[in-house]
Symmetry: C2
Subunit: 345 residues, 2 copies
């Protein structure tokens, strides 16, 4: 695990007083743990299936720490052109500062009770990842878990009003297969449902639907992939309980993805499979650059670290005019599912 | 030249009465001529430099006619995986119908004097093209010329008010080199300046600057390419005079681009040049999907023909995390120019 972004966190971790510390510190630690665990698990697969005879040449994650001039920073771990992963990125960021009025307005528009026309102090921490494997039999996976705090000052016109901190969690995970293995999709959704059901029996169906709606390429009228979970603004029943849920979700990452990598890393594929994968990656780029709120919001932020934001883009992508997979092929079967999201559990 | 989109146009062309016909018909004819001439000139280069021994196998444009259910249609000409062009698209569209209030509001916001909160009948015709060549010594070229009419009904509250038709032209052309040949950039801008100067001595510097500002990848703080011309809302001094200017601009396309293709088609390049080209194509995708108004506006339109809109995307593109060309290389020299647009004339 890397050194934390926030200097005070080192002390908390080493003194063993983390559990009693503020959620900000607990969540930053969680992000670092998720990053470290997921990177380690991915690297094990790379080592297992690497074409390199010389062990020292096996592709590994490069760790890139960066600071945000306005406050905070992040750690981007990236592995490119491995034997298993064409491009794999796992990023954490822990930022704080003033949320500009335009960003506050955007939050108000989705229902947050925040005062208008003023900047507000904020804290945001998150871990996110996109893994684009070499073998088209292994799906791309994406996840993101984040925690947000906004300080709302006391209303001077209201003598009983007090300053308050609004907090919420968001996140999700979704898979994008190229060559569909239904067994992998079912296992993935089953693990997600199990994690959800431990906390609220309504979560899985609600967040699965939200995911299908969110990762939708409108102009093509098809989903980006086979979905997963997506949620935002989760601020009930309590910080500790939501955090527990988020941790449970994150703990499904290794058991839901790594066995898929392990199972499919040596499955054969041909030139056509690779071309199809590149075309589907073009669709992935379309979603991320046209629709994804995180990408858009990120790039519009002055001083944004665009390299970490655009780490989600594949190493290579392809666009052919009016490409249509022939009917009754495995490619057309995938498109059918993308056009009509199905229930996997 | 293909059959026109508008049925009444065939008659006008064959009866020889086109010059006296409405601008709508004249402009549609112009679009078709530009498409036909440019495609023919591009195909000549493909034939000259094709690797195919069998002439019948030389890549040619495929012509794809499409109708828009809401009114009008278009003709998309596309050539993929040729010897000279990796992907070349030349598209015309001629559409009419009702402009929804949201689109009217967008036009009002950029200064158009149009009534709010109502749909307005409109007509729009345009020709646009993006050519992505195989050889990184040949730049990508993009152009677009368009004509717009909006019918504004008489204001019932104003007894002197009359119904009117608002019209304007827009367009431009720009080049995106991979391996920079300054001679090509200078010749390109010189031809553009000459075309502009014949009409208004202020046009070239004004429209060159507009182009530099428009084709700007904000998050990377660099231009998409070496610019050219860009203008919009041109509605003075008269339809005939602006149309003359637009025609003059369009007539520089073949003489400014085809000699570059001819000069560079056999220039050698290596693996690194190709990788650099793919990375720059990634930037091209970023501009088109994140910033380009035409693409965004197009994709948000219900029933949009996204295949024709996305024809501008390259066949292949590449994203590497934090790629930086080494200093004092031809790649870094290009980036310098993209970060500091220069005067070529």
């Amino acid at each position: 695990m890397a050194e934390p972004i926030s200097p005070e966190l080192s002390k908390l971790i080493h003194s063993g007083s983390l559990k009693k510390s503020p959620m900000k510190s607990q969540f930053e630690t969680f992000c670092m743990q998720v990053q470290a665990e997921f990177c380690r698990a991915l690297e094990e697969m790379e080592a297992k299936y690497s074409d390199e005879v010389d062990e020292s040449k096996v592709a590994r994650f490069k760790v890139d720490r960066w600071l945000r001039p306005e406050g905070g920073g992040g750690i981007t771990c990236i592995l490119q052109e491995g034997s298993v992963y064409e491009k794999a990125g796992v990023n954490i960021s822990v930022v704080h500062g003033q949320l500009p009025p335009a960003a506050v307005a955007q939050m108000r528009s989705r229902g947050k009770n925040l005062p208008s026309n003023q900047s507000l102090p904020f804290f945001a921490a998150g871990v996110s990842s996109v893994i684009h494997p070499v073998n088209p039999n292994i799906p791309t996976i994406h996840f993101n878990y984040r925690y947000f705090e906004v300080e709302v000052p006391a209303d001077p016109k209201n003598p009983e009003g007090k300053a308050e901190v609004q907090w919420w969690f968001g996140g999700g995970v979704d898979m994008t297969p190229y060559i569909l293995h239904e067994e992998d999709c079912r296992a993935f959704h089953q693990l997600l449902k199990k994690a959800c059901d431990r906390h609220d029996s309504s979560y899985y169906s609600k967040f699965k639907k939200w995911c299908d709606e969110y990762f939708y390429v409108k102009h093509r009228e098809e989903s980006r992939g086979i979905g997963g979970l997506f949620f935002d603004d989760l601020d009930q029943p309590s910080p500790a309980k939501v955090f527990n849920f988020v941790q449970d979700c994150a703990h499904t990452l290794v058991p839901s993805y790594i066995p898929v990598v392990d199972r499919r890393a040596r499955v054969g594929y041909d030139y056509n499979d690779r071309q199809w994968q590149l075309l589907r990656r073009g669709r992935y780029v379309e979603f991320n650059l046209i629709y994804d709120r995180g990408t858009k919001f990120g790039l519009m932020t002055p001083g944004a670290r665009y390299e970490s934001i655009l780490m989600s883009l594949p190493l290579t992508a392809r666009w052919e005019y009016q490409h249509q997979p022939p009917p009754n092929t495995k490619e057309s079967a995938l498109v059918d599912i993308l056009k009509n999201p199905k229930e996997w559990v």
